[in-house]
Symmetry: C2
Subunit: 246 residues, 2 copies
DNA sequence: CGGCGTTTTGAGTGCTTTCAAGACCGGTGG
DNA sequence: CCACCGGTCTTGAAAGCACTCAAAACGCCG
């Protein structure tokens, strides 16, 4: 079923590197932990590598595990009875996926790229949270940030016209990269037009038309497949918040 | 400016009741605390009562305080440059308002009804969170729940037609009441058509037309101002998730 | 080179918005 | 007691933006 269950950490990877890799970077869960505590966490965690399009878990599965994304990009989606889907968020390296107060996961988690994840059984994580208050504090911090980002997304979807939503999405890619401290000129954009549409509450055709319009205005380039370069960020920002001649 | 700053707890209210009232109910922050700890929390907290339409804080204000809603209903809103606003959520008794990892509040908080709030300075709360891990754990729990609810709202706003959104909103009122353990036949609905529209990403006219349609189909009644009675919950549910013959 | 999934582009439809006016309701003052 | 007033809600008609349906172009991979 779940490809994760069949996988072991790739050979040649020392498990004591797990959390120093996923956590002590800029944004990870383990950011506030010292070396000794990291060792204990590492002892509890597995590392798994999965190819693009893998399903990490599905909405309704028992929420027995929590993941920290070490590299790669994931999308979280909810499926409606009529088959339409809503992307509730994208996740980047350092983000935690699957921590919930419910018995079941409230959404699907699917990889857009190949990825490596740090995997913890929920009971073990709870034990660690009890032992290390700074870990729980960090998790609370990440959760509050995620909540604010989701509220921001609600504004985008609820109150902005189509092109403004696409502009806001592009700027959010920029922001996500900034947080990870990268500096390349072009952005990775592994999501398809359909993914973006499902994130923004639009159809893929409308997203495509917006990209075409931006390209024609010289606001962006797509130098290669799944890469985008923003050429006029002020214009995109203005369009995004409706201050463009409005 | 802010009416809160001018207010003292009403006379005749003993402050040692603060958290036993706001917290030890079904949903409050202080739910997991024992009596001794509650006393310490109470010593740090104020209680404030405010009339309907009060602004508790505004987006951009320094986030120096955290509130727990004891009774009444609040709305949280984000304002766009073009004047449109998005309601990012409603808050009910037991909910925490204003806990953020940022320096400033990311939204306005405004009361729809008269309300009483438990007010804590942020540094004092942080001190308490450090002292009582179960308090921090509870806050994390509330935050994760709120995140899931906001994601659910994203699905509603992004992927459902107008009437389905209104139906989903009505059912969410029902759910909020259920969590508070109430059992009356009619629901309190202190929000205006405009509030509901700003929550659902619609116009107030569209919301009004949906209510009219539901009334004509016999799915609800409004026995008095700011009350609703849902007469056909299965019909509303089916419409809400699109399983109504669509 | 053929096949499949993704993206682009076009034309027409439709749902929601916009604009406008009137009804309703509670509160206030004559 | 009733008229007036502001805010909210309802209803109608027209316009617009995004959707739907459709087909062709593109690009990747075998």
């Amino acid at each position: 079923m779940n490809p994760l269950d069949a996988l072991r950490p790739p050979p040649g990877i020392r498990t004591d590197e797990v959390c120093s890799t996923c956590g002590s970077r800029v944004a990870g869960l383990c950011k506030p932990m010292d070396a000794a505590s990291l060792d204990e966490i590492s002892a509890e965690a597995d590392r798994v590598s999965l190819p693009a399009r893998s399903v990490v878990f599905r909405e309704g599965d028992q929420a027995t595990r929590v993941y920290s994304l070490m590299n790669g990009i994931a999308k979280l989606t909810r499926l409606l009875p009529d088959g339409k889907q809503q992307v509730v968020g994208f996740r980047y390296p350092g983000d935690v996926i699957g921590y919930t107060s419910r018995r079941d996961y409230p959404f699907d988690a699917e990889l857009l790229t190949g990825a490596t994840l740090c995997r913890l059984d929920r009971p073990k994580l709870d034990k660690l949270l009890g032992r290390y208050p700074q870990l729980e504090h960090r998790l609370l911090d990440l959760c509050v940030q995620e909540l604010t980002a989701t509220q921001e997304q609600l504004v985008t979807v609820g109150r902005r016209p189509a092109e403004a939503r696409v502009a806001a999405f592009l700027l959010s890619l920029l922001e996500a990269r900034r947080r990870r401290g990268k500096v390349e000129r072009t952005l990775d954009m592994p999501m398809t037009r359909a993914d973006i549409a499902d994130f923004l509450g639009l159809t893929l055709e409308t997203v495509s038309r917006s990209f075409t319009a931006f390209r024609k205005r010289g606001w962006l380039r797509e130098p290669e497949h799944q890469k985008v370069e923003l050429l006029d960020i002020p214009a995109l920002s203005a369009l995004s918040d409706g201050t463009d001649e409005g």
